[in-house]
């Protein structure tokens, strides 16, 4: 039996909880609390400890899906959650005030975890705001010394989240087979 973790991170409202709910085989466990600070302007409740979902694998093993809290004051949870992770899914909300700043902040914070594993970047809310473009994100990544797949994502769509995870796995190991018809 295999127990491994995939970590979802990103700023408040980027879609971490929704992405885990889209892909999880069972209703995700959430640790929400009523938002009391500036977060309340964006949504009524926010994750304070973690989100948890699970993907059952063909051999009976499980892939645990962990979402970190988006707010920095809960960042003590980040190191705990990344322990044993196979890679990082970073979601950035394109409709926030300075999404490239968010990107830099999270890359800096997860730098050593990304170096040890790998990264895939999903940009959400591009339908609400098209800029920065995917190319801008890519250039920012390159400038900071990262190489990663960058895809537009709607966290509510299972196919989008699935493709982002597949991109991460193939980025780590391009030799993986893609047999099977569905995304």
């Amino acid at each position: 039996m295999t127990y491994r973790k995939l970590i979802f991170t990103g700023p408040v409202g980027a879609g971490k909880t929704t992405a885990i709910a889209s892909i999880s085989d069972q209703p995700p466990v959430r640790t929400d609390a009523a938002a009391s600070d500036l977060t309340a302007l964006r949504k009524s409740a926010t994750t304070v400890a973690l989100d948890y979902g699970v993907l059952h694998l063909p051999d009976g093993g499980k892939l645990h899906l962990y979402g970190t809290p988006g707010q920095e004051r809960f960042d003590f949870m980040w190191d705990i959650l990344t322990e044993g992770g196979i890679g990082l899914i970073l979601l950035i909300d394109n409709d926030r005030a300075d999404p490239l700043h968010d990107l830099r902040r999270f890359l800096h914070r997860f730098q050593s975890f990304i170096a040890a594993t790998g990264l895939a970047l999903g940009v959400t809310c591009m339908d609400l705001r098209a800029h920065p473009s995917l190319e801008s994100y890519h250039l920012e990544l390159v400038q900071l010394g990262f190489r990663a797949p960058v895809l537009e994502v709607d966290a509510r769509r299972r196919t989008d989240v699935s493709l982002l995870i597949q991109a991460l796995l193939l980025h780590l190991d391009p030799g993986l087979s893609v047999e099977g018809g569905k995304v």
């Binding site: 993907l55 537009e152 991109a167 980025h171 190991d173 993986l176 893609v178």
Partner: protein
């Protein structure tokens, strides 16, 4: 220019008249009787077709033949096309024969003796450079679309492409494009070079033009609009039909500048590992096919689409094989885990 003379033998009347219309209007040749013809098309599924073929070989052994059949046919001295007949295949076969007849010494011959643009498409993973088929994007919708995009983005005007087929309207401000055709129709339209479409319609006085469409500016873009980049990506993939753009050598390394936005672009499953590999390191299309054990046609489609969106660069160093992977229990375990996750995500 003098039109080539083609005979169609052995086809039932309705199929004969359909072929005649296609040959006359699209391929711009004359359909004549067997005595006058320079090239002969024989329907092998018709009554007495075997005798017809034997008689044809006896009487005119040097006349080029195109054989049509529901069965897979392998005749060394003839071009064999399997039914259901694809218009593109027939047009290309005929073009190839006529080119050979008109230009006995074609340029840039490969070891197979054919010019690269007219080679049949090889689907094998171990295809050699001389067997790769090419196409010129300028002959197809992708180049016209790219040109119209450039004009629309530069002038910031809504532009309309009239091909004598379905109109295409480009909304540069919203980065959207509207095609009045469903996916199936668009895909089969992409099979033919534009000159064939223009030939079909030029008798009605239509030409391919890109022009401003001020009326479209008065309305919101229709809900069925597609994104400009997503349309160009799939049109280029379909125009490629498994061939490489003629300016990309199969043995020259290419690399992806960044991942294509595959959550929003049409793609077959193989696009993912191709993207991962070509993003990771420069690699030739031939080596990519071999490393991933994919038909070279899949790699050619991907390279064509990525090139249309200017996602490719051409580094000088050539990677000849996969990354060296240290065999260790940890690496094998990780691969096994990733493979199981992939299988689960793809519904296997």
């Amino acid at each position: 220019m003098k039109r080539a003379k083609i005979a169609v033998l052995g086809a039932p009347p309705r199929f004969h008249s359909l072929l005649e219309r296609f040959l006359t209007k699209v391929c711009r040749v004359r359909v004549v009787g067997a005595e006058q013809a320079e090239v002969c098309i024989i329907d092998l599924d018709g009554y007495g077709a075997g005798e017809l073929l034997a008689a044809e070989r006896r009487r005119r052994p040097r006349r080029p033949l195109i054989l049509l059949s529901l069965q897979a046919v392998d005749e060394n001295d003839a071009v064999c096309l399997k039914k259901p007949l694809q218009s593109r295949d027939l047009a290309q076969a005929l073009e190839r024969i006529l080119e050979r007849r008109e230009r006995p010494a074609p340029q840039r011959l490969g070891v197979d003796g054919r010019p690269p643009e007219s080679r049949p498409v090889s689907r094998r993973a171990d295809t050699k450079a001389d067997e790769v088929a090419f196409y010129d994007p300028k002959d197809y919708l992708q180049e016209l679309l790219a040109t119209a995009y450039r004009q629309a983005l530069t002038t910031e005007m809504i532009l309309r492409i009239d091909l004598g087929w379905k109109p295409i309207v480009i909304y540069p401000r919203q980065r959207l494009v509207w095609v009045n055709a469903d996916e199936r129709k668009l895909r089969s339209f992409c099979r033919l070079p534009l000159r064939h479409i223009v030939r079909l319609t030029e008798e009605d006085g239509l030409q391919t033009v890109i022009q401003p469409d001020p009326e479209a500016g008065l309305r919101e873009p229709p809900p069925s609009c597609q994104r400009m980049d997503a349309l160009l990506w799939k049109v280029a993939w379909w125009n490629s039909a498994g061939r490489l753009p003629k300016f990309i050598a199969p043995d020259r390394p290419v690399q992806l500048k960044r991942w294509p936005n595959l959550t929003r672009y049409w793609h077959p499953p193989q696009a993912l590992p191709i993207a991962a590999l070509l993003y990771r390191r420069p690699m030739t299309p031939l080596v990519t096919a071999r490393v991933l054990r994919l038909p070279v046609t899949d790699v050619s489609g991907f390279v064509s689409a990525a090139s249309a969106l200017r996602l490719l660069c051409f580094p000088e160093e050539c990677a000849v094989g996969p990354d060296p992977v240290t065999e260790s229990p940890a690496v094998s375990e990780r691969q096994g885990l990733f493979q199981r996750i992939m299988r689960r995500l793809r519904g296997g």
